[in-house]
């Protein structure tokens, strides 16, 4: 039987049966999907982990592979016709869930003021667009169904289908944790994904109310997954150097916006100018902005007349990083004290001769929800796969949340303090550390 094979470092063979699923190859060949080959999965993490040069396209293939396996499992445990019927939409959603990502993945979204999910949905719904046409040729209803799965605000389809793609334990996370671990070389992020796929269950209710849960025998694989997620956040996603360059890029863009709103010429490259000037940018205008475009823009800004803008551009290109300082621990009072600390730090920056604290004192609030691997809702009456990983256990009519079953997980699932970091020029690190040592909440 003819197959299209992709060699992949995580799964070795990712295979598409051409007779059954030739349309998937057409979908992958669409320009909007091929563009994902030119978007780094981990944004600027390369500045910290030189091996992290893998792309959204490789991740997309991984998610497709896992969704194929996941659907096979669901067919084994539920023989309803509706399960068979949803296969195409699940596989298409796996391919297209990230199609709206902009340059450097998530990190550039605040710069352009966009949400990649909104653009993913637009690409899928755009009548006449290559992606839309491939889906429509297979089934005229398919573009709407796929858009519904990808759009977090759309609730027309049974929720369990959305949960396979987006929930506390989904095919997206299962792929990116392991893939990012491999390419960063960080050594974390391992878990028994095969066990997770083959122990998934659908929990009661009718088609529309079903929840995604796991059988009890998955508990150790889930424990591994939770720790993998925790370690990857601590060591890779929230790495201080990576976050520093993310904040620097955001500050650079904010500076350019400010100059532009004051009437200054910020020498925008044509693709970015077209997007920024448009009242309602078209899909083409959006998709034309790639990492190459952004890098070209930054190169131009390196020689800009505005001192802070050219300085930030130079720092970004030369990996001339800011120093990171953590704020003192928050107080246990109703006023957590961060505002006063930030003001004092900005004053230190000003006194050191940096007249623009918005450019040279960059706050990075790491919300507790990003600090921890998994933060389950405690109340059963508010739980679903969106906020809890739950298992069917003998003797219980309702599934049990994993940290209730394995209380040893609680120290990491219930650690929830926000952390505030600040990025400042390295020559004032000592002054900032002195301020911190004297600081009393």
């Amino acid at each position: 039987m003819a197959s299209k094979i992709f060699r992949d470092p995580l799964y070795n063979y990712i295979s598409i049966d051409l007779k059954r699923d030739g349309w998937l190859v057409e979908l992958l060949d669409c320009p909007e999907v091929q563009r994902l080959r030119r978007i780094h999965q981990l944004g600027v993490s390369e500045v910290t982990y030189p091996g992290a040069s893998h792309t959204r396209f490789a991740h997309t293939l991984g998610v497709l592979h896992l969704m194929q396996r996941m659907h096979e499992r669901i067919e084994q445990i539920c023989s309803e016709e509706s399960v068979k019927m949803c296969r195409a939409r699940l596989l298409a959603a796996a391919v297209l869930h990230d199609v709206g990502h902009g340059p450097f993945s998530h990190l550039f979204e605040p710069c352009l003021g966009i949400d990649h999910e909104v653009w993913s949905v637009r690409v899928i719904r755009e009548s006449g667009g290559p992606v839309h046409e491939v889906l429509r040729r297979l089934d005229p209803m398919l573009p709407d169904a796929v858009a519904s799965l990808v759009d977090k605000n759309d609730h027309q389809l049974p929720q369990w289908q959305k949960f396979l793609l987006s929930s506390q334990l989904d095919v997206d996370r299962m792929d990116y944790l392991r893939r990012d671990s491999l390419f960063t070389g960080s050594g974390y992020g391992h878990f028994d994904w095969y066990r997770l796929i083959n122990t998934i269950e659908l929990h009661d209710g009718d088609e529309n109310q079903r929840d995604v849960v796991w059988s009890e025998k998955a508990k150790f694989a889930i424990e591994e997954y939770i720790f993998a997620r925790y370690y990857m956040y601590q060591n890779v996603y929230l790495h201080k150097t990576t976050r520093g360059f993310e904040k620097l890029l955001e500050a650079m863009w904010a500076r350019a916006k400010k100059l532009r709103s004051n009437g200054d010429d910020v020498d925008l490259v044509p693709a970015i100018r077209g997007f920024c000037d448009a009242q309602d940018p078209s899909i083409d205008q959006y998709l034309t902005i790639e990492e190459y475009t952004v890098l070209q823009q930054i190169q131009q800004w390196r020689d800009h007349a505005d001192g802070p803008l050219s300085d930030l551009a130079r720092r970004f290109l030369n990996r001339d990083r800011f120093a990171m300082i953590e704020s003192p621990p928050s107080s246990d009072d109703l006023d957590d004290g961060y505002e006063a600390w930030e003001e004092a730090l900005k004053e230190t920056v000003r006194k050191a001769g940096y007249s623009e604290p918005d450019v040279y004192c960059l706050p990075d609030q790491l919300k507790g929800k990003y600090n921890q691997p998994y933060f389950p809702e405690k109340e059963l009456d508010e739980q679903s796969a969106q906020n809890a990983i739950r298992l069917k256990t003998a003797g219980e009519s309702e599934p049990v949340e994993i940290s209730e079953l394995l209380p040893r997980l609680r120290p990491v699932t219930r650690e929830h303090r926000d952390r505030y970091r600040y990025y400042i020029p390295r020559d004032i690190r000592d002054a900032a550390e002195q301020l911190k040592s004297r600081w009393k909440r």
Binding site: K152, N153, H155, Q159, D206, N208, Q209, D211, S330, D332, D333, L334, D335, D336, K367, G368, K369, F375, E377, K378, E379, L380, D381, E382, Q383, S384, Q386, N387, E396, S397, E398, R414, H416, R417, D418
Partner: protein, 173 residues
């Protein structure tokens, strides 16, 4: 939403604030009424749900600013209730009240005291669908379909009425 705002809400609850679900839906409805709490919500299985609210609640318990009590519920799980310990009350008395919240005190107290928790859940869900666009009739039907309820059922109709009153406040503001 900050610690002071959440503490004030808990103070306004009659006795104690019973159930995390109530807190989730009250904050959602207050925000829908125009109260600037700056909380991110997504539609979950049981209506609008915010991880920010859940997290802030637990963070304040961890800091000793809130006290949590659990009691068994009919589903076989636990219901979580919250009240302010005396030191937090003392702090509240010594601080300026949160200005943003003041004009919503009446609505907050009414929602916090609403005896029918299902009505709050449905009202938040109807308000969510209405804010997505469409008529009130459509919003109630969508909510009823989402919650597997009779769109003409009494609680659902009352929920729509409550959602209408809440959103009317945001239009006035």
């Amino acid at each position: 939403m900050n610690r002071l705002q959440l503490a004030k809400l808990i103070e306004w609850a009659p006795g104690e604030l019973e159930s995390r679900k109530r807190l989730q839906k009250v904050v959602y409805l207050l925000q829908a009424a125009g109260c600037p709490l700056d909380v991110e919500y997504a539609l979950h299985h049981y209506g609008p749900y915010s991880r920010d609210v859940a997290e802030l609640t637990d963070e304040m318990c961890h800091a000793g600013l809130l006290e949590e009590r659990t009691s068994p519920n009919t589903l076989g799980g636990r219901t979580f209730s919250y009240h302010l310990p005396e030191p937090t009350r003392a702090q509240l008395r010594s601080m300026d009240p949160p200005v943003d919240l003041a004009q919503y005190e009446g609505l907050a107290k009414r929602l916090l005291a609403e005896p029918n928790l299902k009505k709050l859940e449905f009202a938040a869900t109807v308000a969510y669908f209405h804010r997505q666009g469409g008529s009130w009739e459509d919003a109630r039907r969508s909510a009823a379909e989402f919650k597997k309820q009779d769109a003409q059922g009494r609680t659902m109709l009352e929920a729509e009425q409550l959602a209408r009153e809440v959103l009317a406040l945001s239009e006035k503001a």
